[in-house]
Structures are given as C-alpha cells and as structure tokens.
C-alpha cells in the first residue's frame, strides 16, 4: 500500500494515533502529528512511498507537534521529537515540513551506522551510481536535481548510504530541498518538475522541495554499485572542466565527507578504500548546468 492509497482521513487518523509507518529507502519511520499543513505536504511528497501496517519495527519514531503554552496562539511554533526527545529549537508552525525533513536527516546521521554514510548526493544511470559529495559552495543539490530531471535515478540528495558487507549503495529517495537561487534555476531547467511551496526565512534561507520522480520512488528498494566519484565545484563564469584526481586525494576527501568514517573504524577504512578503488574520480568545475549534465552523461555512457 502506498501513502497516496490512504484517504486523507485515514492518513490523519494514523498520524494522530499510533503513527503512520512510512517506508523511506531502507528505513521505516513512525510519524505522528496533528498539524494539518504538515499532513498535506507529507501526503504530497511521500505519496509514492509504501506505508506499512502495524506491527512493525521502526528505525525512527518521530513526532511533529505544536508545543503547549502560549506558543499555541502567539507566533505558533512546531517542535520535532525523535524518540520523545527534541534535538532542535522549535520552528515557526508553517515550517513543519522542512523541520521534519531536517530532523529525519539528523536522526539518520546520528543513528544509521550500519552504513558508511557519505554526506553526498547519489544518482544512478545504467546500473552504476554517481556520487556527488557535498563541500562548501559545490552546488550538489542543484546538480543532483538537474541530473534527476534528465533521467538519472535519484538515490539521495543528502546521503550516500554504503552497505558495509558488499559496498552497494542503498537508495534513500526523498524530496530534494532546493535553496534560494537554485529554486528558480531548476524551475527554468526542468519546467515539468514538481516543486512544493517555498519556505522563507529558514536557517538556510528560502527552501522549496522538489518531488521525487515516480520511477525513482518505484525503485527505492534496488541498490547499485558505485561507478563514479565526482566532486562538483560551481563557480559563476567558470569554464567546464572535468579533472581526474588521484586515489589518495579522493580517499582523503571522501573520508572527510563521511558522517561516520571514524566511528566505523576498520569497516570505515575498508569501505572508503573500496569505493576509491571501484570509482572513476574527478573534480567537476562548472557554471553552466546544461554543459555539466552533458559531461556527466558522456561519462556515464562512455
């Protein structure tokens, strides 16, 4: 059963009672909330993803709720609880959905150490995954959104989840948060893409979410091996350049890009060295999105 298969009332009822069991990638999230605006966006952005029936073992127990007291009426707020505890300050009520997305990311990064977790976008084409690690000013989300709108399968905008035992990447397709200028960039680049409401004044500026394509959602259970490691670097006016980098350099960058490299100890070392062995490695400097996509398509088709 997909979330879209539940009626609005059924969905609200589950959210208000024992929780809605939402499957996102390898994780099961038990979500509880009674906030109408949040419920609507959850149904919109996760409609193509499975809901599970109780009993089930959830990886994350999330509540998105309105704190009590005066804040119910005066400048109303919303709070994110993970397993009954609140890792963040409350947000303004209308930002419930981005709060949920960030909170879930935080929970995954803190807890899912059965994987090597890269802070990277990941997309797949022809059975191999392109990993785009985040680093300051890199334009990872924009590039990821653009690739997905040109037919690459979305694995994740935020997490490269690498299975420890076999080195496969595991998809975790979720709404892609576009920030500030990149909202319009993607609107222009992919006029057919579904982009949700803009949330102004978040700690990352204005954020709007790009819907996961149906095809990516439908294959969210299918992992794939890594093929390319591309460190993107956006600079206005830069000429496009795809520069190979050597293994030690890639290793260092990737280990530093991981949420849990140190924590994993030897497993982390083995997972990252294996990735460096398996992948072709590049730095991509670009300013024009079309050129960048062409280059990456050629790389994949070579």
């Amino acid at each position: 059963m997909m979330l879209a298969g539940l009626t609005g009332d059924e969905c609200r009822q589950r959210l208000a009672n024992r929780g809605l069991l939402l499957k996102t990638g390898p994780f099961t999230v038990r979500v509880r909330s009674d906030i109408e605006g949040f419920t609507r966006l959850l149904r919109q952005f996760y409609g193509q993803f499975p809901v599970m029936e109780t009993p089930a073992v959830a990886d994350f127990h999330v509540r998105v709720l309105r704190p009590g007291g005066i804040r119910r009426w005066w400048r109303p707020q919303v709070q994110f609880l993970l397993d009954g505890q609140s890792p963040f300050q409350p947000f303004q009520l209308s930002h419930a959905f981005p709060l949920f997305e960030w909170g879930l990311n935080w929970g995954i990064a803190m807890q899912a150490h059965q994987y090597l977790m890269l802070h990277s976008a990941a997309v797949e084409r022809a059975g191999k995954v392109l990993i785009l690690p985040a680093w300051p000013g890199c334009g990872k989300s924009t590039l990821c959104a653009a690739l997905v709108s040109r037919g690459w399968r979305l694995f994740s905008d935020e997490f490269g989840l690498v299975r420890i035992d076999d080195g496969q990447l595991v998809p975790l397709p979720r709404p892609t948060p576009l920030k500030n200028k990149s909202i319009d960039v993607i609107r222009d680049f992919a006029p057919d893409a579904t982009i949700g409401p803009a949330f102004h004044g978040t700690r990352k500026g204005t954020v709007a979410h790009l819907q996961t394509p149906d095809a990516s959602a439908a294959q969210a259970h299918i992992p794939a091996l890594p093929g390319w490691l591309v460190f993107p670097r956006y600079r206005a006016g830069a000429t496009l350049q795809l520069k190979p980098i050597d293994k030690p350099q890639a290793f260092l960058k990737l280990a530093n890009n991981s949420f849990n490299y140190r924590l994993l100890g030897l497993q982390g070392f083995q997972a990252v060295t294996r990735l460096v062995r398996q992948c072709d490695r590049y730095i991509l400097s670009y300013s024009d999105l079309d050129e960048a996509i062409d280059t990456l398509n050629q790389l994949a088709d070579a």
Binding site: P55, D83, G84, A112, Q114, I164
Partner: protein, 373 residues
Amino acid sequence: MTANRQYGNHGTGILLTALRDPGRMIDFGLDEWDLLLRIARRTRLLGRLAVIMDETGEMEQLPASVRNQFAAARVFVSQYQRTARWEINRILAALEGRDVPLVLLKGGAYILAGLPPSRGRLLSDVDLLVPRGLLDSFEQTLLAHGWESVKLEEYDQRYYRTWMHELPPLRHPGRFIEVDIHHTITPLTSRLSPDPEKLLADSIPLTDSRLRVLQPVDMVLHSAVHLFHDGEFINGLRDLVDLTDLFQHFGKHAGFWEELVSRARLQGLLRPLFYTLRYTNRFLDADIPAAAMIATDDGAPPGPVLYLMDNLIEAVMLPEHPEFPRHRRAVAQWLLYVRSHWLRMPPGMLLQHLARKKIMSWRHRKAAAETVA
C-alpha cells in the same frame, strides 16, 4: 522474592525480560521489538543486547530491521571500547616504563580484564585508582604528555581537589575520552571512608602486569558505592546490569559471598552492598544466596527510608515508556541527587555547593545535574 513482580509499565517489563533472560528475545513479536529497541537505546543497553544476541548465534533469525539496529549499536560499542583501550595504552606509553601501580576501575577494568560486564559496554571515561602519594607526579606526567584539565573554572578545580575522590578529569586534545584519576573510591568528605590502601594492596595484575584491577569483592563494592553514592543515576540500570554480571561470574567461586559481606563490613560499606543485593535481585533476578541477603540486613536503612528508597530507585532506574514519560522520574532524580550530596558533604557545605552550582550553571559532564538544576 519479588523477582516476578509485574511492573505497570510495559516498556520496563520488556527490557527487564530481555536482560534477565536473553533467550526469550527470539520469541518477541515486532511490537515488542519496536519498544525494546527504543528503551534499550535510551538506557545505553542496546549494544549489550546486540552482543548477547550475537553470542546466542540466533541473530539471523531476527527481523532485518532489528538486525540493522543491532549492527549500528555494535559500531558504537567497538568505537567506545577501542577508544578506551587506546587511552590506557597512551597512559602506559606516557609513563615510559615507570612503575606506577595503575588500577583500572569500572568499564575500563571490565574490558581489559575481559569480564562479562564488558559485553556491549559503553564508557565515556577511563577511571584509574592511583596511590595518593603518587597522584601529583602522575598528573604532572600526563599534563607533560599533552593531556589537559577539562574543568578550567577555578571553583570546579577547587571543588574536585578539596572535596572529591578524584582529580579534575583530564583529556588529551584530539581524543574523545576523559581520564578520571581517583585516589580513593568515595569523596573525602563522605561518611563512608573505605581504606584505599587496602584496595591497592589487594588488587590483581592483568596479563600486562603494568595494569591491575581490584580484587573481585572490591570490584563489586566499588561499583556499588559508585552507583548508590555518586548521585548519577543516568546509567543506573546499566550499572545494576554490571553488578548482576559480576555476581554471576564471581559468585560461583567458593567463599566469594562470605568474603564480600565481611569485606563490606570491614570497609564500612554494608549499606551500599545491601542496596545492591536488593535491587539486582529485585530487578534483574541476580542469583544471590539467602545467607548473603540475611548477612547484609545490618546494612538496611530504617524502614521508612527503605520504603522511600525503593520508590525512588524504581522511578529512576527503570526506564519509562518513551511515549508516556512520568514526571516522578525527574523528581526522584533530583531527590537522589540531593541525597548523594548529603552523603558526601556536611550540610552547610551542601547548601553552599548547590547554590553555587545554580549560580554558575555549571556544565556538568553527566546529564544528571543538567536535568534537575
């Protein structure tokens, strides 16, 4: 016996069942797992359940979602234990072969001595017992090798050095674990004053003879004193689990129980031993001979105090259901915290200290103070 007593809170029941009788985990349904994993994570016992499940060889029969969370928990266990072992290794390296008797306490001792409580044990500091006469030179050696004092506020420094049984914690920059150097096992001002010389004299060398651990009865008594007199019940259930393991491990040896009781009497530690036997047996089914129970009865507090302690300990040690937290837990924690200070300081000093803490909003290492101050 109250071992089979029912606890109103289902979450508590399921965790205690898993701890007492791990073999029963295999029959848990998905709903039970869902609750157990949450509660075990909160009480820092998830890693232990994971390691014990591994030992049973039946991990493969569990639902994938459970196995994944156990796998993640084992990653934490390995990291914490590796970090502690390395810290101990670096301390030995700093001593460069000098003959300082280094007695490991608690988590570090369990892990290096390979004792049963090390299974899945997390630890955030390495505790050492050092003869008082060598304390200064030992601290200077570590400082000279790059360790730094964690508490820099002058008041904190003075508090530790004047009243506590340990130096202000040290930490090496770039490493993520603290070193607590003790010269005795209860605060200097405490009404309990076991003789640290006896503890050191009877300690036992490990395979690496530069390291030592307390002899079994002292190991139990130290853990008991720490649990019931240090005021930090955050890991209370985990500490009771340690003690239950020690009882099961050492209790088989002839004479252990008699020696335990007489050592407690000699060191003036009958009260904490009484509590330990009572609550390990009550909550975790620890197998304690009736004779030992009776022999520690002298250590029991007056009836009304015991009644109060039973209630406070249950409220604090047993985890709450994550969706239905009880206010009484926070209250009980505060009362036990004040009690622990009462036990270690004269009353005038206590008020001074608690007020001081409030003013300075002292960032206590452990969350206990945070939640109540």
